[in-house]
């Protein structure tokens, strides 16, 4: 399928999802022009604030391909990804992002993630969300255990 055809599948999934009680977002993950997965926004429908279209598509593609590394795949999303979804796209090692609507279009429709973008760009102590460091010495035992684990799978 062409890039335009793949994007149209993402857009149609977004429109269809609204009819099914979901949010107006859809995403397709493709490998060499073939669809691997389709994801839609099920935040309110599934009570899962992480169930954005891109995250849903990534989880489905990884399940389909049996891997946590989607190198060689691309994502087609009906709207520019939020910081959470961008983070997920980087962790999943997707090669390229195609998007339809912009952040501004999303904000106009009531989905404004500019506050999150602004917060992430600030140093921790300047953010609106309260953050506190706690038991940092004891917490190092997690990484000590990791370094000692002989069967660890790096990623």
């Amino acid at each position: 399928m062409s890039n335009e055809e793949l994007m149209r599948v993402a857009i149609e999934a977004a429109v269809e999802n609204v009819k099914n009680g979901g949010g107006p977002f859809g995403a397709v993950i493709a490998k060499k022009g073939e669809i691997v997965s389709v994801g839609v926004n099920r935040v309110t429908a599934n009570n899962d604030p992480t169930a954005h279209a891109e995250v849903s598509a990534i989880r489905a593609a990884c399940a389909e391909l049996g891997t946590f590394d989607l190198s060689g795949c691309e994502i087609f999303t009906s709207c520019e990804p939020c910081p959470m979804c961008l983070g997920a796209i980087y962790w999943a090692h997707l090669d390229k992002i195609y998007y339809g609507c912009s952040k501004k279009d999303a904000a106009d429709a009531g989905f404004d993630d500019s506050m999150i973008y602004d917060e992430l760009a600030l140093p921790m102590e300047g953010r609106m969300k309260p953050v506190e460091k706690l038991l940092s010495d004891e917490a190092m035992s997690s990484f000590d255990a990791w370094r000692e684990a002989e069967d660890r799978v790096e990623y």
Copy 2:
């Protein structure tokens, strides 16, 4: 439970998770000092790059409480959240973040998310990850459908 006790549960979950083939990260979500959920990093174990401890804990807490809004809850995480998890924390409306290890401790152990933080702070055209706008006019049909939906659940 005290904040220190809640953080110790997150740290112990991280250590235990390494023994179970997972990554060295644990998180607890608590409401008024009572544990709602515990999450651990199952990225490689479950083939899910989004299965960081904080995302896992958020999903579990929302399932437990039957809501997509965790206002009134706090998260205790063994390590400073990555951009994906921070995004998820904002979307879930958690009140406060307590963390143990720092981003630098994580990087020293081989989990470096500084590239993702750097990328998110850049304008899209300056990022390493290729991004392309495609069919933006057609994509607006998703938000048109949303505006026309009478039963939409805003969030």
